[in-house]
């Protein structure tokens, strides 16, 4: 067994003058304190990457900077799925008895540490260097391609996609750490600048500075235990040109494996934390995971199903779309918020029942997937 014993999250947005290591350190300190542990009790470190400060040994760079001499440490790189992939690895390392308390940390000054063009260029490199990148695609264009096909096959409209941006913004309004605090409407999303059609500016997550961390432990350290009940991955391709049919994407494979590993069903889930790099990402993943019928996720947004007081509260911190996206830390904020909800510490965002949560992350262009079930055990 493994438990998420502590979480830490900075505000997302601009942290002028903070380095990636600064943001990682801040989040790590919060998570260790939240777990009721001391630095010296941390014997494992998993970290992601920083596009602003790339390094071939980021985990040991961080360990030295932070002042830990771990038994086990290395970086993990699975794009947007990195946070949950690290949570899964931490769970397995703890279960295997390799280490006792793993610090999982991500953070990056992606907004103020480099230009937006530099961020867009760095991310576009997930494309094929010979057959895709020379065509000038961007990450929004890779997802724009997927969106055009998904809309074509399932009758989803741009207005449908806009609903997800509006929902995430309405959730962000209640979180002081979110990057955006202005309410938006479907009309605002529709009128926002075209980026890579059918995706417009408000269909896209922002570039942010921020840090997130959590501790995964062999035994509980606090009053409320959040246990990793089961998790699984699926990797079907890297490049969108080589992606399988929409009905054969990795989210469906990963969730089937995670259900088998946990013995849980979607009907057991009370809270959902789903990767939302773009509105289309969230729409597709909700349907792939079985949290909405095919082509019907937007209708469920409109009916309040995914709202804080709805039947399946979703990304109550505002998600990548409105809390912000600082790279690896981006989707780790989903896990932090889930933990706060499960332990009854989400303040004015608190949902009625978050006893069982489903988290899902996606990296690349729906290339790499991680599904994870968390359960509150007391």
């Amino acid at each position: 067994m493994s438990f998420i014993t502590g979480v830490g999250l900075t505000a997302y947005g601009k942290h002028e003058g903070s380095s990636s290591l600064d943001l990682m350190s801040k989040a790590a300190e919060l998570a260790i304190a939240d777990a009721g542990l001391k630095r010296a009790e941390i014997d494992g470190i998993l970290c992601g990457y920083s596009t602003v400060s790339p390094h071939i040994m980021l985990a040991t760079v961080f360990a030295e900077h932070f002042g830990i001499k771990p038994v086990y440490a290395h970086a993990v790189q699975v794009g947007g799925a990195t946070g949950l992939a690290m949570a899964m690895l931490a769970h397995q390392l703890v279960e295997a008895g390799v280490i006792r308390h793993v610090l999982v940390v991500g953070g990056e000054n992606r907004l103020t540490g480099q230009s937006r063009d530099a961020s867009i260029l760095a991310l576009a490199q997930v494309g094929h260097p010979d057959y895709e990148v020379p065509l000038g695609p961007t990450i929004p264009a890779y997802y724009g391609l997927v969106a055009s096909r998904y809309m074509h096959e399932y009758g989803v409209t741009q207005q449908d996609l806009a609903e997800f941006a509006v929902l995430m913004r309405s959730h962000a309004l209640t979180h002081p750490g979110a990057q955006f605090h202005d309410a938006i409407t479907v009309a605002d999303v529709m009128a926002s600048k075209p980026v890579a059609m059918p995706l417009k500016l408000l269909d896209c997550c922002p570039v942010s500075d921020g840090g997130a961390a959590f501790v995964v432990s062999r035994e509980p350290t606090g009053a409320t235990d959040v246990r990793v009940r089961g998790c699984a991955q699926a990797h079907t391709h890297q490049h969108v040109t080589a992606a399988p049919a929409l009905s054969e994407l990795g989210a469906e494979i990963a969730i089937a494996r995670a259900k088998a590993a946990s013995g849980l069903a979607i009907s057991d889930v009370r809270y959902a934390a789903v990767y939302d790099s773009f509105t289309i990402t969230l729409a597709m993943l909700l349907e792939d995971l079985g949290l909405a019928a095919r082509g019907e996720a937007a209708a469920r947004v409109r009916s309040g199903h995914f709202s804080r007081d709805g039947a399946m509260p979703l990304n109550t911190h505002g998600g990548l779309l409105s809390y912000g996206h600082c790279g690896v830390g981006g989707a780790m904020a989903h896990l932090v918020e889930t933990h706060l909800q499960m332990t009854g510490r989400a303040d004015n965002r608190q949902v009625r029942d978050a006893s069982v949560a489903l988290l899902h992350g996606d990296g690349g262009v729906l290339s790499s997937h991680v599904s994870m079930f968390l359960e509150r055990v007391r």
Binding site: G136, L145, P198
Partner: protein, 124 residues
């Protein structure tokens, strides 16, 4: 048409006006990204073939925000995925008004200092 085992027959990625794909003599798999082996069965020396340039639009995205001065000079430009008549999928550029399902034919166009495949509706 066969490339006689030359899996690296020059194509647009090398500045030549051609779209090339590989076929596996052992299992029949087609692949667009060139390799020295078949990614389905592992057999070596897949055969290089020149594609006709005919296909059907699978997906489109009109890029309106680019990240370099060279690509910004071209916006808006339409990135398309095309399912070729030969049976492999490729990324290319295309006319801005292309729709999913359109039958298309490739030509080649300059883009950001390179030569890229560019699809337009097939003339009836």
């Amino acid at each position: 048409m066969s490339g006689g085992g030359k899996y690296a027959m020059a194509d647009w990625t090398a500045g030549v006006e051609a779209i090339v794909y590989q076929s596996c003599a052992a299992c029949g798999n087609l692949q667009y990204f060139r390799r020295s082996f078949c990614c389905a069965c592992g057999a070596t020396d897949p055969v290089a073939n020149r594609a006709s340039g005919e296909g059907t639009v699978y997906a489109t995205s009109l890029v309106c925000r680019a990240a370099t001065p060279e690509t910004r000079a071209h916006i808006p430009y339409n990135i398309v995925l095309v399912d070729t008549v030969e049976g492999f999928r490729m990324m290319a550029h295309g006319d801005n008004d292309l729709s999913i399902g359109d039958k298309v034919t490739a030509r080649f166009a300059p883009f950001a200092g390179r030569l890229v495949p560019y699809f337009e509706k097939t003339k009836p």
